[in-house]
């Protein structure tokens, strides 16, 4: 699993865990451009009984194509009964307080911790 570093963002997988840390601003042009990040996320579901944690506390901006990418990942995780998915978000980042609730509608067991 590798980290992905773009001009305005960074996606890093914590060594030896299924924690993915997002930083910066994600405004890629569409699903095609989001594919490497989506694949990196999907790889966290490869292990059995996975506890997957997405840390978004430093992801200041996400465009709607990015929301589509996260929703695809949430749906992948929803289809796996043995996966526990958790998002750590920040109350101080407006898009997180406004838009993450939609992902919870897709997957009611999704845990969102607002800090």
């Amino acid at each position: 699993m590798k980290n992905i570093i773009g001009e305005s963002y960074e996606v890093r997988v914590e060594e030896g865990s299924s924690t993915v840390i997002f930083k910066g601003a994600l405004r890629l042009t569409g699903m095609e451009d989001y594919a490497p990040i989506f694949e990196l996320l999907k790889a966290t579901l490869a292990t059995e009984s996975a506890q997957v944690l997405l840390d978004l506390r430093e992801l200041d901006f996400l465009n709607s194509s990015g929301i589509t990418m996260f929703s695809r990942f949430v749906i992948e995780a929803r289809d796996r009964a043995d996966v526990a998915l958790e998002f750590i978000a920040s109350e101080g980042i407006p898009w997180q307080a406004r838009s993450l609730k939609n992902l919870q509608r897709l997957m009611p067991s999704l845990k969102i911790v607002l800090t």
């Binding site: 699903m31 709607s64 929301i67 589509t68 101080g92 939609n102």
Partner: protein
């Protein structure tokens, strides 16, 4: 195109004299989409920063720092989505510039983006707008997210507009206008109005 001008949704001409506005226009055909893309973020952030400078800092109408932060983000999000759509769907054959316009009155803040569309695109966009106006935005949003996940090549178009309505409380309106000089390309303007009550509390 038989009609010279068609309005859909909530689209009122601005009449107040008491207003501040700012327009950015991008010359057509001068750069490929990919190199333009990074400018969307720059322009959107600029509009967000710009709008905050007009808010009263003191007195009864002043808003707190966290509300300013919220407002800056809302304007930047809406502007970014409108610009992304305008860049994606702009009719290349036209000589119509892509533009984004911010307007601030006592009652509201609006962000509008304009681009050229050929007749087929205009009809497709109008059909999508009708679909948006007919349904419950919350349900349409979830439906769109589910569809996006199921399709091989998900089409995320429309999600930006749905998040503006659903997550940001924006009222959307559209104006399709024929061009006198170019009969095969119309100009579409998509406007998002952010109301003050939306700025005071989260929807």
């Amino acid at each position: 195109m038989t009609l010279t001008r068609q309005i859909l949704g909530h689209y009122e001409e601005q009449s107040s004299d008491q207003r501040e506005y700012l327009t950015l226009a991008f010359s057509p055909l001068s750069a490929p989409l990919r190199s333009r893309w990074r400018n969307n973020g720059l322009s959107a952030d600029f509009l967000g920063d710009y709008v905050v400078t007009f808010l009263p800092k003191e007195g009864d109408l002043s808003i707190t720092t966290s509300r300013q932060h919220e407002l800056r983000h809302s304007v930047a999000y809406v502007a970014n989505e409108l610009l992304e759509n305008a860049m994606k769907y702009h009719a290349q054959k036209g000589k119509i510039p892509i533009s984004i316009h911010l307007e601030l009155t006592d009652e509201h803040i609006s962000v509008s983006a304009s681009n050229g569309v050929d007749a087929d695109q205009a009809e497709r966009y109008k059909a999508f707008v009708e679909y948006l106006l007919d349904g419950d935005p919350g349900d349409l949003l979830i439906q769109r997210l589910e569809e996006g996940a199921r399709e091989g090549h998900p089409n995320d178009s429309g999600l930006g507009l749905l998040t503006m309505i659903n997550d940001y409380g924006a009222q959307l309106g559209w104006c399709f206008a024929a061009n006198a000089s170019q009969s095969d390309v119309a100009t579409v303007t998509t406007r998002a109005v952010l109301a003050p009550q939306m700025l005071r509390s989260r929807s």
